[in-house]
Symmetry: C2
Subunit: 490 residues, 2 copies
């Protein structure tokens, strides 16, 4: 690892950028977790100013000069910051402001459309967002495809062509597996009462074994669970529990997976702006690895099921490990992405990617989106979309102009399985350790392979170093076929 020996003037600039990001994180966390409702308008204005000041510092020409002077001493840091600097400089301030306004308006239109359960109410706002996204992409005429520019904001260096190739292979593996499962008798998740307070207690025990501790972390409630780290030693995860389901426990493992990534960055990178996750796809690989590869495995529950049973003796009295595994691994094609299981989830994402691509390259008109959505849902998952609320209006992303983001969810699933395959090979006795409730070796391994590097390498470099090759759907497909083949007796 480097021990950054940055020029003091450059370090001061990067420190200011870090501090504004820190402030933005705290303001955003507070907004969702703590702020009284009436504070929303003032908070929106304050966040806008913080982001504008961050933009102004990042595009400042003097930063470019300082980067030139420092390139030899810290080439990797300089390369990463210069990329941020140059991308930010390309987009005219007026366009950025218009995108921001359209995002606010689009969110309001989306809420109104959901209220009316009518895509037509949302359509003009979405058209404006798509148009602005194309204008944004136009600021980077050297890109092979305009979608590459949008994707790059969330997955630096990835291209539409790469993702399309990856997703075709993934889709072609998932669709037949899901068809086979759908032919088996339907199963159901665990019924029963799981009082929230007890779930929170055992959830805390689980994540404390993962590395969560109160000196550097917080756990709070939020309507939509998320994780954010104002600093490497100030990691905030949120969760949402429900008395009649255990899904909140898996969501907690997911968010702590995100938190461990931020927490595990080498402290030498603090205040360089490189002390965070390198891409949303790599971030999602960490959350999904803990949620699904660890958190839905028999080894993990060999340790935790008896403890869970102690908390919920009535509801789990007759549930042995096999029954529990079947219950927490139900596969069922459904309409809503955020409720999808480990197998069907990525198809929801691939559907959105294919539609986004069409909207951006002009082969799909906004007006035709609901029909295209329904056709793909039928094709991929065999389900009928009854209305817009259960279809094209379900996600917030497009309303705020967030286009190019969805693929990172499936990239995370793919990479999680690749990392898991290597971890199984490199960590001796990993399953035995999990069966004893010991996850320290895995955390250390992930820190070594992924977390500590922050944004020092590109996502492609990091993935190559960690798993010995590029993104590859084969480990995920093999994992799913082996696991669900056994569970469903295929």
């Amino acid at each position: 690892m480097p021990s950054p020996s940055l020029d003091p003037a450059l370090a001061a600039r990067l420190g200011e950028l870090s501090d504004l990001r820190h402030a933005g994180h705290v303001l955003a966390w507070d907004q969702q977790v703590m702020m009284p409702a009436a504070g929303g308008r003032a908070r929106g204005e304050a966040l806008g100013t913080i982001r504008r000041l961050h933009h102004e510092l990042l595009v400042d020409a003097q930063l470019g000069t300082l980067l030139d002077a420092a390139a030899d001493a810290e080439p990797r840091i300089v390369r990463t910051v210069r990329r941020d600097h140059e991308i930010e400089r390309r987009v005219p301030g007026e366009l950025a402001a218009e995108i921001s306004r359209a995002g606010s308006d689009g969110y309001a239109a989306w809420l109104a459309a959901r209220e009316a359960n009518d895509f037509a109410v949302f359509e003009p706002a979405l058209r404006r967002n798509i148009d602005l996204a194309r204008r944004y992409a136009g600021c980077f005429p050297e890109a092979a495809h305009p979608y590459d520019v949008l994707l790059d904001r969330y997955e630096p260096g990835a291209t539409a062509a790469q993702v399309a190739t990856l997703f075709v292979a993934l889709r072609d593996g998932l669709v037949p597996l899901i068809s086979e499962i759908a032919m088996q008798p339907a199963r159901q998740a665990l019924p029963g009462d799981f009082p929230v307070a007890a779930q929170r207690e055992i959830g805390l025990e689980m994540v404390q074994s993962m590395g969560f501790d109160r000196t550097g972390w917080r756990l709070d409630d939020a309507v939509h669970p998320f994780a954010v780290a104002p600093a490497l030693r100030d990691v905030r995860v949120t969760s949402r529990f429900d008395d009649h389901s255990l899904t909140g426990l898996f969501a907690l493992l997911h968010e702590v997976g995100h938190g461990l990534y931020e927490h595990g960055v080498d402290p030498a990178l603090a205040r360089t702006t490189l002390d965070t996750g390198v891409s949303l796809g790599v971030h999602e690989s960490q959350s999904r690895l803990w949620e699904n590869l660890v958190g839905r495995s028999p080894a993990f529950w060999t340790h935790w099921l008896p403890r869970l049973r102690d908390r919920f003796p009535l509801s789990l009295r007759d549930i042995d490990l096999d029954a529990f595994m079947r219950a927490i691994n139900v596969v069922r094609p459904t309409l809503i992405r955020v409720e999808a299981d480990e197998v069907t989830y990525s198809l929801h994402v691939i559907l959105r990617f294919e539609l986004e691509l069409g909207l951006i390259d002009g082969t799909l008109d906004v007006i035709d989106l609901p029909a295209a959505w329904a056709a793909k849902m039928k094709q991929f998952l065999g389900v009928d979309v009854p209305d817009d609320l259960h279809g094209v209006l379900q996600d917030i992303h497009w309303s705020e102009g967030i286009i190019g983001y969805f693929p990172t969810y499936a990239i995370g699933n793919v990479l999680a399985a690749q990392l898991w395959q290597v971890a199984q090979a490199e960590i001796e006795g990993l399953d035995d350790a999990l069966s004893r409730g010991e996850v320290g070796a895995l955390r250390v391994w992930l820190r070594e392979k992924v977390h500590r590097h922050g944004r020092l390498y590109t996502p492609a470099e990091l993935i190559e170093q960690a798993v010995g090759g590029p993104l590859d759907p084969a480990p995920m497909l093999a994992h799913l076929r082996a696991k669900y083949g056994a569970l469903y007796g295929l």
Copy 2:
């Protein structure tokens, strides 16, 4: 009230200043109430950057130009902001940075001195802070006394000469009253168990009657209770309850008094930087009015004592209103300011003011401070100071270079009594309303007289408008003599 019609460019500047103050408030609140302990270092850096950016925006010459152009349209807003701008420009950046460093170092030295219970450990750091305060004052050579410059940071426009005159009159009224009380048999506060959860519930009922509501306020725990308002509709108060005392209830009334001031500013002043309290003394008048003039009055407890007794039936079974009034109004000369009662409190402040004045004008050397402290404690309150922890090391303020702040506590007490006298005359049936638990008319009156104006008038103008004259110790002395004369049978 004005309806600000500011030039858009000026409004944008003031909005940015407001947003940075907002961010600083949220970061500081979070630091004390929410942040994991390990996040402290990164938070300190982030707060430093936010404050530096605020400074840079405030001293920017272009702001001066915009103020010149806007002076006719909004003279009061321009006058207030120009004053901030010109004061901030006077202090060289290097001196400001040195003061900030010395404050951090001084805080560390103060902690070490408290650990050792030895003023000598703190003395060099305090000497440095005093020296820097004099250099700061030297940036304003037109001031009649260097202390005026320090005081002005917290009580704009006040002077050492005015405060000295006020405090001599206050001291000369308080010392004999306290001597008379001290000759009566000693009394004690309420013994008993008052479980924290029940105190919090009835405390919330009380402050909800004052105007606290969850849509625009939060109540949390903090080691040292405080109030802060990131925005007019985002007011955060903190409290600290103790199972064996009711003092937390009075601290809560105090902090909500501060919160009502911020919450009551005219929304037309939002984002002008004038949407906050005009001075610390006026702010303290609001907290003290609710804590002492309302919160320790028989009328208030006529309504609330039966409700308190419902919560704590065992501890309050034999306590009638007269006994309760005696118990919550015990006067006892003690060593520690923050534990002092309504009568003795201001003498602790006057002592500190007189010592600060000597340190700044050079008639008192830092080395002689503990002896001077002990002599004044004996003279004012008749108590002996056993050691530095119970004397000169008790307050944090001087360690951080905060000099000129203490007088505002006593100014608040004086002004609270003046406001109370006028409120009694102008609000018909005020005591009857309090006896029924109705404080709405008082809140509306305070909003009209004080809150809504924000920083639109100078403190002197505001006080003149509200009470028909300048600061005057007579109402406070009359109130205390009447109240405690009756309670102690003098």
